[in-house]
């Protein structure tokens, strides 16, 4: 390791702006795609015929496309654009390798296109924000590591002495996302496009929400904080309000965030102490989050007049404000009693979109308006249009989140309201659905307004780029007096301690690993305990693995994205138990790969759906939900009555499950196909005897087999409908 000192020789060098341009354009393109798909699925909830009956256009398949496009395509490309621009300038160095930069750009776009091609066709792992199947997961890991190497080596080769705090956030982002992605994506493939996670049930839930929560933390928060610490000072031409506060902000947020994952699993069958840790650390997140928000906003001090005149500053100021609002609301929702009301409702959707559209979106838009004129060597085409975009997008967010707050709190209150006799006031779940449908229309309107603002930006950017001078290039020339390195260790004086901790990228990276490692180990401890504590305390003998047909049905449930609307987790709350039956236990999902606890109840919980209704009810309901449940907004799954079950894959599936520890015997694996056919025939015969016309080889038969298995581990009957 080396320190650096001034040489006195002026050096001239260039920055690679080509890659920044490409990521900037990709950000704009994917923003439009992500918002458009969001509007489509919002409309599908408001008006279910818009599901159209086409399998690849149904809500359950498009919703993961929307979330992946918003997070990894729109926000992801914005992060990379901002990092490639600011990193080079903060380091006074060109990116380590142009080839790696280009590999990163094209690799990332290829991954996004792969997601867009696979998710609508039901090729999914069924884990929220981690839906992509194993070949794409491998590609993500490779491209991400390439990005990290490029970034770290640029920092190592910098010409300046210090590493600005924004770069710390970038480094923490790279390391943590790499760890999260690799650990969560571990799975056992059984075809080229399908795999089962190596974790099951509660273990899978803990790993998934350790990942899911920290995807928000380290993909949608820390990199954007880094961008905030660079672009707000640039926009107002003033240094950050308190650099000291940014140091505290960084270390506390890196240490705390990783612990908070279990707040997604409050009141569930996850051990109580793990829930308490998740809740406590979520509440503690208030401290660094608000420290950062105040730091961002106060950086504008002395330049408040620019809020009136500069749309870029407006976007940044509102982005920081939304960051503060979202990070106030997040910890609030992590308090168990508040979470009991808000979880599974549209309140969470409001919270997420305030963060994504307000914090991530506005910071990205402000950054785009800052970058485009600089990258293309011209002036912004129209400041007025940028202002139109700002106000339109603000209005869109307000309409959106207000509708979802009202909807969410309405849902939460209706789900648990009881009458004087102590019975549910709204026993039919559909009553609570019908009540919020008008709000779904308003939500869709909010999305349309937000997209309209984005299209104004597209036009503005297009006109700006078109006005770029013909001599404009993809490089910026800069010069500075570089510092030469000298041994880091062996120096005397207190400044050395600063150099070690805050000036050496690899040591900084190692410390980040330690910081996130502590929280990760403790957060995931229940997973490692599962085979001792859980199995010792529960009646394993009562838990039987899925039959091959049930397993096939489960795979169809995952394919259709049923978890996007239905939970499979009855919480230990009065409202849940009255409505759905006994609380879910760890053993209920013991063999669930992936777990399907879900995070949203657009429809009712299905944890104890088994045996609640006859097979014929499910048969009719899946074909035409409105025929069975008046007012339902569920789409029809007509294709499952035409598509055939893949019986040929049964043995392979059981074999993979067996290798993951599911107690199938050798004969079960060998006879899986005949076992499944026999069970299917029994169900089909029963249906046909009641007037249905179906053959045993149709997918709907497998799905019914699975639905009838749900929650029957203990033979516990369900609650209300």
């Amino acid at each position: 390791m080396k320190d650096v000192q001034e040489t006195g020789t002026l050096e001239r060098f260039s920055y690679d702006d080509g890659v920044v341009k490409k990521f900037t354009i990709a950000t704009i393109v994917w923003a439009v795609v992500a918002f458009l798909v969001g509007i489509i699925i919002a409309m599908q909830l408001a008006y279910h015929p818009l599901n159209t009956g086409l399998p690849w256009f149904s809500f359950g398949r498009l919703r993961p496309l929307h979330t992946n496009a918003a997070i990894f395509a729109f926000a992801g490309n914005a992060i990379f654009a901002g990092i490639y621009y600011s990193l080079q300038r903060l380091c006074k160095a060109r990116m380590f390798s142009d080839k790696i930069s280009n590999f990163h750009f094209w690799g990332w776009q290829l991954i996004i296109v792969s997601a867009a091609l696979t998710l609508p066709f039901g090729i999914t792992q069924g884990k929220e924000y981690a839906e992509l199947e194993w070949p794409i997961d491998i590609a993500i890991a490779v491209v991400w590591v390439a990005f990290g190497i490029n970034m770290l080596m640029t920092v190592v080769q910098r010409r300046v002495k210090h590493i600005y705090v924004a770069i710390w956030f970038y480094i923490a982002t790279f390391i943590t996302v790499a760890v999260l992605h690799v650990v969560n994506a571990l799975s056992m493939p059984f075809t080229m496009i399908k795999s089962y996670p190596i974790y099951a049930g509660v273990s899978d839930a803990l790993v998934q929400w350790w990942y899911g929560h920290n995807a928000v933390a380290f993909f949608l928060t820390t990199p954007f904080l880094g961008l905030m610490y660079y672009f707000i000072p640039k926009a107002v031409n003033r240094p950050v309000y308190s650099y000291r506060l940014s140091v505290v902000h960084f270390w506390t947020i890196v240490f705390i965030y990783i612990w908070a994952g279990p707040h997604h699993l409050l009141n569930t069958s996850v051990p109580d102490w793990a829930q308490t840790v998740g809740m406590a650390f979520s509440v503690m997140l208030w401290i660094p989050s608000w420290g950062g928000m105040i730091n961002g906003l106060m950086t504008i001090r002395g330049a408040w007049d620019k809020l009136r005149t500069e749309p870029i500053v407006k976007f940044f100021a509102l982005a920081a404000t939304f960051y503060g609002m979202s990070t106030f609301e997040g910890p609030l929702l992590s308090i168990k009693s508040v979470n009991e009301l808000g979880h599974y409702t549209d309140w969470i959707i409001a919270h997420v979109h305030a963060g994504a559209l307000g914090w991530n979106g506005f910071l990205a838009f402000g950054m785009i308006y800052y970058l485009v004129p600089k990258l293309w060597g011209t002036e912004l085409y129209s400041k007025r249009l940028a202002n139109v975009h700002f106000w339109t997008a603000t209005l869109g967010i307000i309409i959106y989140v207000m509708a979802m707050y009202v909807s969410g709190i309405t849902q939460g209150l209706m789900w648990r309201e009881v009458d004087m006799a102590g019975k549910l006031a709204y026993p039919d779940f559909v009553q609570t659905v019908i009540r919020v449908v008008p709000l779904y229309w308003i939500r869709a309107l909010g999305g349309v307004v937000y997209l309209a603002g984005t299209l104004v930006m597209v036009y503005n950017v297009y006109k700006t780029v078109k006005a770029a001078p013909a001599t404009q290039t993809n490089e910026t020339i800069d010069e500075c007096v570089p510092y030469v390195r000298k041994p880091l260790f062996g120096q005397a004086g207190m400044k050395l301690s600063h150099r070690v901790l805050e000036g050496a990228p690899m040591l900084l990276a190692a410390l980040v690993v330690v910081m996130i490692g502590i929280g990760s180990v403790i957060s995931l401890a229940p997973m490692w305990m599962s085979s001792s504590v859980v199995e010792a305390n529960y009646h394993d003998a009562m838990v039987k693995p899925y039959t091959p047909l049930q397993l096939a049905g489960r795979d169809l449930y995952v394919r259709e994205g049923c978890y996007t609307c239905h939970s499979q987790m009855i919480r230990k709350t009065v409202g849940d138990v009255l409505r759905f039956g006994a609380p879910s236990t760890i053993e209920d999902s013991k063999y669930d790969r992936p777990f399907q606890w879900g995070s949203k109840r657009i429809g009712p919980d299905l944890a104890r759906e088994g045996s609640k209704y006859p097979d014929l009810w499910h048969f009719r309901h899946m074909r035409n939900p409105q025929e069975v449940v008046n007012g339902s907004i569920m789409p029809s799954y007509g294709w499952m009555y035409k598509e055939k079950i893949n019986f040929g894959l049964m043995s392979k599936k059981l074999s993979v499950m067996k290798s993951l520890g599911v107690p199938y015997g050798d004969e079960d694996v060998i006879n899986a196909e005949s076992w499944a056919r026999e069970e299917a025939k029994k169900i089909a015969d029963g249906l046909n005897a009641e007037g249905a016309q179906i053959t045993e080889d149709r997918e709907i038969i497998a799905l019914i087999a699975y639905l009838q298995k749900l929650g029957t581990v203990q033979g516990v009957a369900g609650g209300a409908k």
Partner: protein
């Protein structure tokens, strides 16, 4: 064996232990960032984004 050992630990104390760990980190970072010589270093660092003087975008 490790799992067996884990199963006998009193995990209910973990939230308290975790809070103490956070308090230690938080206080440690506060002390670190407020050390005497940090003022001049942070003064240099906070101005880094404003120092660029690139001449670019055109030939």
């Amino acid at each position: 064996m490790i799992r067996e050992a884990l199963s006998h630990l009193h995990w209910t104390t973990l939230p308290v232990v975790s809070m103490l760990m956070f308090a230690m980190v938080f206080v440690g970072v506060l002390l670190w960032s407020n050390r005497k010589e940090s003022r001049s270093i942070y003064k240099e660092m906070e101005n880094l984004p404003l120092e660029e003087n690139g001449m670019g975008g055109t030939k």
